[in-house]
């Protein structure tokens, strides 16, 4: 029987891992992720979840143990934040290069120094090029649903890649919301038992991940790129099927809101997307044609959808909870890169907001929208990158 529970996104992520019938969970604590692995420890110790729980001595080992487990033929899950994710960096490459369908919850947190435990996308975005699929969630229900969808996607033979399910620290991780947990049999029906491209098998003795010369390396990389392209096709389909079965759908790669007739579209990720919807409602009441596009999947990047969106609008404003030092926010960069070479382009302005947990409310986004609309009417952006609410 489906049931509705009220809990934090972190606990909900634990419920997601349980519902996905995860079999091995190597775990290491870090704020604000910790309550995910605590919840799973509770499930395992109470016998509610049949999984091996490995209390590893570092996040590096957590990811490598996930690799070992997935390679030996079981579904693996872990969770981390910020410095823990950075410590995993090398192992993230190893996981995707080994084509192992591991799913990890990343509770987004700022990187130090100084120590800052509050939300910021710099941790997961720094791992952009590791070959992991990246989902960004806007509420607790989406966290649960995305974990299930992620395994379905990653274990598809066209994909066989790992995925991060990202959620902002505190804004989601420690915030209670009602979440519908579908009936377990229906989840099992949607997500069959673990499927991977290969396993360590004494009857089929292969060497995995051994030395690969320039004669082959490039082809292996190309296959990962192809898998990302397949994921781009599959994500909307899986999202739709999930929606039909369980009632929640997120627009596939991008969740669009009031974009059809919009002059200006606000492009965000994560919970800023929820705030942006409120901004849109408020501005629409004043007759301003604003829409919101929340990038739900950052890798593979929804280039084609952005291109389609750009055809309808006069201006795009990106809001990045992230800065690539020496350039701009990644959303700003990727959106401009998606549009180049295409004639009749909308204006693009990049806004940096909410770093290290500074609040980004619908009011903050309203300021961004109004400034963008002004630039749009003037026919040019005053600043390519604008830092919002920066103190003098």
């Amino acid at each position: 029987m489906a049931k509705v529970i009220i809990d934090t996104a972190n606990h909900i992520a634990g419920y997601g891992a349980k519902a996905a019938r995860v079999q091995v969970v190597p775990a290491y604590p870090i704020t604000p992720q910790t309550t995910i692995v605590e919840k799973i420890a509770e499930f395992v110790e109470k016998g509610e979840m049949d999984a091996e729980y490995i209390r590893v001595e570092s996040e590096h080992s957590a990811m490598v143990a996930c690799i070992g487990a997935a390679a030996a033929g079981v579904r693996a899950f872990t969770a981390t934040s910020a410095h823990g994710l950075a410590l995993m960096h090398e192992a993230l490459h190893w996981a995707s290069g080994s084509r192992l369908p591991i799913v990890m919850a990343v509770v987004n947190r700022a990187m130090g120094p100084g120590w800052n435990i509050w939300p910021d996308f710099s941790d997961s975005l720094s791992q952009r090029d590791t070959g992991w699929i990246q989902f960004y969630c806007a509420d607790n229900q989406e966290v649960f649903d995305t974990i299930i969808q992620a395994y379905k996607l990653c274990e598809n033979e066209e994909v066989f890649l790992p995925a991060m399910v990202c959620l902002e620290g505190f804004i989601l991780s420690h915030t209670y919301m009602p979440v519908k947990i579908p009936d377990q049999r229906e989840i099992d029906d949607f997500l069959p038992p673990y499927n991977s491209g290969w396993i360590l098998d004494v009857d089929r003795p292969y060497s995995h991940a051994n030395l690969v010369s320039p004669d082959f390396y490039m082809e292996f990389r190309y296959m990962i790129q192809e898998a990302m392209e397949s994921a781009k096709q599959l994500i909307p389909r899986i999202d739709k099927e999930y929606g039909e079965r369980f009632g929640f759908e997120y627009g596939g790669l991008i969740e669009k809101y009031q974009c059809e007739d919009a002059d200006l579209v606000l492009v965000t990720m994560g919970t800023m997307g929820s705030e942006a919807k409120i901004t849109v409602d408020n501005l629409r009441r004043d007759g301003l044609k604003v829409g919101s596009a929340r990038v739900r999947v950052y890798r593979p990047f929804p280039r084609e959808e952005i291109q389609k969106l750009a055809e309808q609008v006069q201006m795009i404003a990106t809001i990045d909870r992230h800065i690539s030092f020496g350039m701009e926010g990644f959303l700003a960069t990727e959106i401009q890169a998606s549009l180049y070479n295409r004639g009749d382009l909308p204006l693009v302005a990049g806004f940096i907001a909410g770093l290290g947990g500074r609040d980004v409310t619908f009011k903050t986004i309203e300021k961004i929208a109004k400034k963008s609309l002004k630039w749009m009417r003037e026919g040019g952006v005053e600043k390519i990158t604008e830092w919002v609410d920066l103190k003098e």
Binding site: V56, A65, A72, V74, N210
Partner: protein, 300 residues
């Protein structure tokens, strides 16, 4: 206890592997499979064995092998062991096979964690006393006085005592070995296979390329390391220390060859002074005083 005649004919270190001629670690690797058979999952970090196994799409190893990050052997093994437990798959032995750098330096954290968690696997450190893969830089296992490319005038510090560090984890089985004593090594592996928990075996494995000696002397050097007492063959089973043959006959200093006989054969010790050699001899004698006490029923 097997004898040399009882070793199986099957080979799982296959012909055409890419080790240097006279490679000590690859002798040990061959023996490993003779002892454990084919139901082994091998975990190998970056090390000489990354090369020895050959490049994709070939392999010189006849068991499933997971190559993994340099510092991560024991973590990968932990994941594999957990997966086998989850699948209730019995009869497969998970073996970590790592160099000294991957064990005593960069991999010590993951190994210590796996041992403390009582992970059910065999971890083998094949110790060629330097970073072989990258061209012979010093490691924490490089002995005092040895030339390496990063200690061109000889290492100033002593070798880390890794087996004792592992014994301090209170794991059920710690042993030392040397490919010059194949039956001793094979029997230790067979014993380790039957024990639940973390088993650690540290092999001193002569390396002609790094130690600077001619390739036909590998077995002789391993023997000299043991006969001089520089390397002792022992087991620590559930905390109880026991010297194995032939080391058990070397407690009396008069029975041990002078360390000089071992050192003089190797180019890496060319720069040692008489004082250095005397110092090394003194350290060896001190070690043996310790072994003597431990062997006469002192629990570690």
């Amino acid at each position: 206890m097997v004898t040399i005649k009882e070793l199986p004919q099957e080979e799982y270190l296959l012909k055409g592997h890419a080790a240097c001629a006279g490679c000590g670690p690859s002798i040990a690797l061959r023996l490993l499979f003779k002892a454990l058979g084919k139901n082994v999952i091998l975990v190998v970090p970056a090390c000489c064995t990354s090369i020895i196994q050959g490049p994709y799409p070939y392999t010189s190893i006849g068991v499933p092998l997971q190559n993994i990050l340099f510092e991560s052997t024991a973590a990968a093994a932990s994941g594999i062991v957990a997966a086998l437990q989850q699948k209730k798959l019995e009869g497969v032995t998970v073996v970590g096979w790592a160099g000294d750098g991957g064990t005593v330096d960069i991999g010590i954290q993951a190994l210590s964690g796996a041992a403390e968690r009582e992970t059910d696997f065999i971890y083998i450190c094949y110790d060629n006393e330097a970073y072989g893969n990258t061209g012979m830089q010093r490691s924490g296992a490089t002995p005092y006085g040895a030339w390496t490319t990063t200690t061109p005038t000889g290492k100033r510090e002593r070798k880390k005592n890794m087996p004792f560090i592992m014994a301090a984890h209170r794991i059920p089985y710690v042993a030392t070995a040397c490919p010059s004593y194949p039956i001793d090594f094979v029997n230790k592996l067979k014993k380790a296979k039957e024990i639940r928990g973390t088993k650690y075996i540290h092999i001193l494995a002569p390396c002609p390329t790094g130690w600077r000696y001619t390739t036909e002397k590998t077995v002789e050097l391993g023997k000299l390391a043991v006969q001089t007492g520089l390397w002792a063959l022992y087991e620590i089973e559930y905390g109880k220390f026991k010297l194995n043959s032939p080391s058990d006959r070397l407690v009396d200093k008069a029975k041990r060859k002078p360390v000089k006989e071992y050192l003089a054969l190797q180019g890496r010790f060319r720069n040692l002074t008489e004082e250095d050699i005397a110092k090394i001899q003194k350290w060896v004698d001190e070690d043996w005083e310790r072994y003597r006490k431990l062997a006469s029923n002192y629990l570690l």
